[in-house]
Amino acid sequence: LPISPPTEEDEALAETYLKSFYNLTEETGPSVRRGPSQRSRKVSEMQKFFGLKVTGSLDTETVTMMKKPRCGVPDVHLGR
């Protein structure tokens, strides 16, 4: 079945989620980047943590996982 593209609401949810739990930071510096964006890398990091298929993109499974009630402590170490 074609994977339905993420809605704007999903995109916003993912942005907040990745900032809260995967240390996604505002992109700075030259906009031209080689390789996957920071956002895509963070999505992959989250997918890997939860044993989901690592695609770097917001598929249904990934958005569903982001909507589940959880603890507010990040999943990656942010030092102290």
Partner: protein, 374 residues
């Protein structure tokens, strides 16, 4: 498990203070929930907790919503339930609970405060998140009955890697305590699955309170807790199958059967096995499969199997038959069953016996990993 690197308490004698209360429960229920949550960790480590009622404790516990005085505002109902800080001075060790949540004492209404607190206090003691879906320190909330809660092995390993084991417990081999629950491992060659079923192109493999979900586009099956998908479905199911006739998945435990339509539980279930026409003597089903060649459903019960006609909603005559009569060479107990592309797979212990339904011959003996990759 994982820890906050070298952040740990330098003493095993810790103090805690409950600064305020949630209106969702009585103060006594909050006190009890938090005390039991601390004891979860005290039981398996040298840590000991003393409550104080004024001044600054190592672990300050409070309820707040939205912006509540640290740089991590809560987000309203659901989403983030609580957070806590790694061991250290000042805010270190403190635990904050989002009071926009509906916390509960014993039922699975809202979020059970004991379970949320046991997780958060794990952070207060130096544990960060585990990626083991069965661990208490897994970031996603999942309800388990607090009365039968046992700290999983992964979490015990985590806290003991920081502080060591509980010196007050004599490991008396004659009286071993309850075995800490472990998360099943798809790579375990001795793994015996409870049940296997297809679900609209996906496959589900049940074990204990978990199930693996393998959907075609994802090579690595996803491990989930059954109750995070279906709170009504019990752990340790006996059998499961997908009916291509009703487009439901039926899940069996003891004398009861539940029906799933996609990821929703069908109202009116659970029903009794006798509703399917199974005789009263049948106390449980070991395995079940829907044979799309014949349109019949096969129920495996010990050394016998029954054939059920879903269209006529009654058992076929001439059954039960011995399993090795319908499946020559199948002499061991069938623990799960599956039909894929016209072949029937009978799981028995860690082995999988493939049968060609036309010739009724056993064509291969496989391992679990044929369907459930390590």
């Amino acid at each position: 498990f994982s820890t906050f690197d070298n952040l740990k308490w330098q003493t095993n004698q810790l103090t805690y203070r409950i600064e305020n209360y949630t209106p969702d429960m009585s103060e006594a229920e909050v006190d009890d929930s938090l005390e039991r949550a601390l004891q979860v960790w005290a039981k398996v480590s040298p840590l000991r907790f003393t409550r104080i009622y004024s001044g600054t404790a190592d672990i300050m516990i409070s309820f707040g919503s939205r912006d509540h005085g640290d740089f991590y505002p809560f987000d309203g109902p659901d989403g983030t339930l609580a957070h806590a800080f790694a061991p250290g001075a000042n805010i270190g060790g403190d635990a904050h609970f989002d009071d926009d949540e509906d916390f509960s004492f014993s039922s699975n209404r809202g979020y059970n405060l004991f379970l949320v607190a046991a997780h958060e206090l794990g952070h207060s003691l130096g544990l960060s998140h585990s990626n083991d879906p069965g661990a208490l320190m897994y970031p996603i909330y999942s309800y388990t009955d607090p009365r039968t809660f046992l700290l999983p092995r992964d979490d015990i390993n985590g806290i003991q890697s920081i502080y060591g084991s509980n010196p007050d417990v004599d490991p008396n081999p004659d009286k071993p305590g309850p075995t800490p629950p472990s998360t099943p491992d798809a790579c375990d060659p001795t793994l015996v699955l409870d049940a296997v079923a297809t679900l609209r192109g996906e496959k589900m493999f049940f074990k204990g309170r978990f199930f693996w979900r393998s959907y075609s586009q994802n090579s690595q099956p996803e491990l989930n807790i059954i109750k995070t998908f279906w709170p009504e479905i019990p752990d340790n199911v006996d059998a499961a199958y997908e009916s291509l006739l009703s487009d439901n998945v039926y899940i069996f435990k003891d004398r009861q059967v539940w029906a799933l339509s996609g990821y929703d539980v069908v109202p009116g279930y659970p029903k009794n096995l006798q509703n399917l026409g199974l005789p009263n003597t049948v106390k449980k089903v070991d395995a079940a499969l829907y044979n799309e060649n014949s349109g019949k459903t096969l129920f495996f019960v010990g050394e016998y199997y029954y054939s059920y006609d879903e269209e006529k909603k009654k058992m076929d005559r001439g059954f039960p038959k011995r399993v090795d009569e319908g499946f020559p060479g199948m002499t061991s107990k069938v623990t799960a069953a599956l039909q894929v592309q016209g072949n029937t797979y009978l799981f028995s212990g860690p082995n999988v016996f493939e049968y060609n339904m036309r010739t009724k011959r056993q064509s291969r003996v496989l391992g679990n990993s044929y369907f459930l990759p390590c």
